[in-house]
């Protein structure tokens, strides 16, 4: 068995060595920049010294994990992560479906295409640009405060108040992602069998009931797939955007696990401690995807793998 296995490998190598040679550099990339960092997580269990070994100096066991489990800041950023993740899921998952259904009812193809093209424009912007626009719109002399002043209210320094951060974060997230999110749903909508609508119509279903009983079940596999993917990114809430938008005044609601580990690790240099937090976050994220996938497979028969 192993003898023949080895000889077919040898034959494959002789025949396809040029193909294998093309894979060398990409594989080197994956090993160095994807798999080595995974192993590099052992520094969460070891004492890392700057300039020292990639994998740390000596074992510390679970010291860093114990450290953050008793760290009050950790629990506050943990809560913030959950709240922001939940809010993002609550708004950024269903709204593309709604927009896709609305677009689907537009008769004029030109209009439909125009609305679509405009709505996914923000997806192509740098997160820095989005943050900059948010700051300009919400500044004291910005649009929102102009409106407030016009209705006789006091201007609000939105970005300096912790109470506003979640609203700002989620609405800018919706602004940037909703149009792009509709693409897959619109594609899925085109595959719904037209005969089903006809049958529903003959049974006397109104348009609303057709949407409820034909359209939505028709795109359910797409919805489930995207839901699982969304849950997978639950813990990794908009790290870059938060980093750009938050400031010490809004830390109480804006600081999430990833921004905290950025400050602890990169700004303050406690790399082992930050790695432990990062590993914890990644494990929760992975657990979430795996369980969402398993639940979805059992409940509706759709899964990522």
């Amino acid at each position: 068995m192993s003898e023949t296995g080895r000889s077919t490998w040898r034959r494959a190598l002789r025949r396809d060595w040029q193909l294998y040679s093309l894979a060398v550099l990409p594989l080197l990339f994956f090993l160095t920049f994807r798999y080595l960092p995974m192993l590099g997580n052992v520094i969460a269990f070891r004492r890392f010294q700057p300039g020292g070994s990639l994998f740390g100096e000596y074992w510390t066991g679970l010291r860093y994990f114990r450290l953050f489990l008793t760290d009050p800041t950790f629990w506050s950023v943990f809560t913030n992560t959950l709240v922001l993740g939940a809010l993002t899921l609550l708004f950024c998952f269903p709204l593309p479906i709604v927009l896709a259904l609305l677009l689907n009812e537009v008769r004029s193809r030109a209009l439909k295409r125009f609305v679509q093209s405009v709505s996914y424009l923000p997806h192509f912007l740098s997160i820095v640009i989005v943050a900059a626009m948010v700051m300009q719109l919400l500044s004291v002399d910005g649009t929102v405060n102009q409106f407030l002043r016009a209705v006789g209210a006091e201007p609000v320094a939105f970005l300096q108040q912790a109470g506003w951060f979640r609203t700002i974060y989620v609405s800018s997230e919706v602004w940037q992602t909703v149009g792009w999110g509709t693409i897959l749903y619109l594609a899925a909508l085109t595959t719904v069998d037209g005969d089903l609508y006809e049958a529903a119509r003959i049974d006397g279903a109104s348009r609303w009931r057709q949407t409820w009983h034909v359209t939505l079940p028709g795109i359910r596999p797409t919805m489930m797939t995207l839901l699982i993917l969304n849950i997978g990114t639950f813990m990794a809430v908009g790290f870059e955007k938060i980093l750009l938008l938050y400031n010490p005044l809004t830390y109480p609601t804006a600081d999430v696990i990833s921004t905290y580990l950025f400050r602890v690790g990169i700004v303050s240099g406690n790399l082992s401690y930050a790695a432990a937090i990062g590993l914890f976050e990644a494990v929760i994220g992975l657990t979430l995807v795996l369980s969402a996938n398993a639940i979805s497979r059992r409940a509706v028969g759709t899964s990522l793998w």
Partner: protein, 308 residues
Amino acid sequence: MSVDARARGRASRPRGPRPTRGYRIFQAVNAVVLTGVVVVTVYPFLTIVARSLSDNAAIVAGRVNLVPRGFNLTAYRVVTSDPAFWVSYRNTVVYTVVATLVSVVLTTCYAYVLSKRHLRGRTALVGVAVLTMFFTGGLIPNYVLVTSLGLKNTVWAIALPNAINVFNLLVMKAFFESLPVELEEAAAVDGLDTYGTLLRIVLPLSKAMVATMVLFYAVSFWNSWFAAFLYMDRQDLLPVTVYLRNLLAGATDATQTGGGLGSANDVVQSAATIQSVTIVLTVLPILAVYPFIQRYFVSGIMLGAVKG
């Protein structure tokens, strides 16, 4: 992807002999809602452009909305006469070109290998890539790695760690798989080896796909800021996104420390015009290519979704 064809089929789907009154009301409401979506999406762009062209005093007074007040190009002159801005702009161009080149070459090579169904070990090679979509090393180990490889303050800190995007890889692999096998067999019969087939037969047939990949990568590298923010210590190495980020961060500090002081407020306000101009100039290349790229992106994301 014949999405358009399918969309047309869908449009002609019978959905009732005549619209009811309720449905006509819905159509009207729908039109209003969708117009609202367009307005909300476009408004921030227009107001930034208006601010960039306005007089400082008008902005401070909160009078600038969609129309520039006290039209002038002073802020544009200030920004474009700042050498640091042009240095960062040039850096962005250089980083984008280098990183895109590396990415497209590596992605093409690996996608081509993965598209060969007969290849022994192909499943494992696909698995190596796909697994990284679900589990990654995380920020800190990556930072330690890039730092200890001595990539800090070089373009490679931006180009190498993100050289292959697995999603793009799968899109390209699907495309190569759709090419007729006979062509490459004929090339082999005519004596071309694998490299020759790739360079002289496959790539010329894949111009549209390669162009799409160039756009995918170029847009993402043009927009990226975090890698440079982490790994570039020197002012003269920053890309324009980080230049803009530093402008923003500076303004925030000024608002915090200046609190109410007239002079500090002036700094903030002039910063607002400068920021608007920088936003406009940074986003301009993206807006210029947007009409050409968005179609490719759309078919790309659907191809990727189909292949999973």
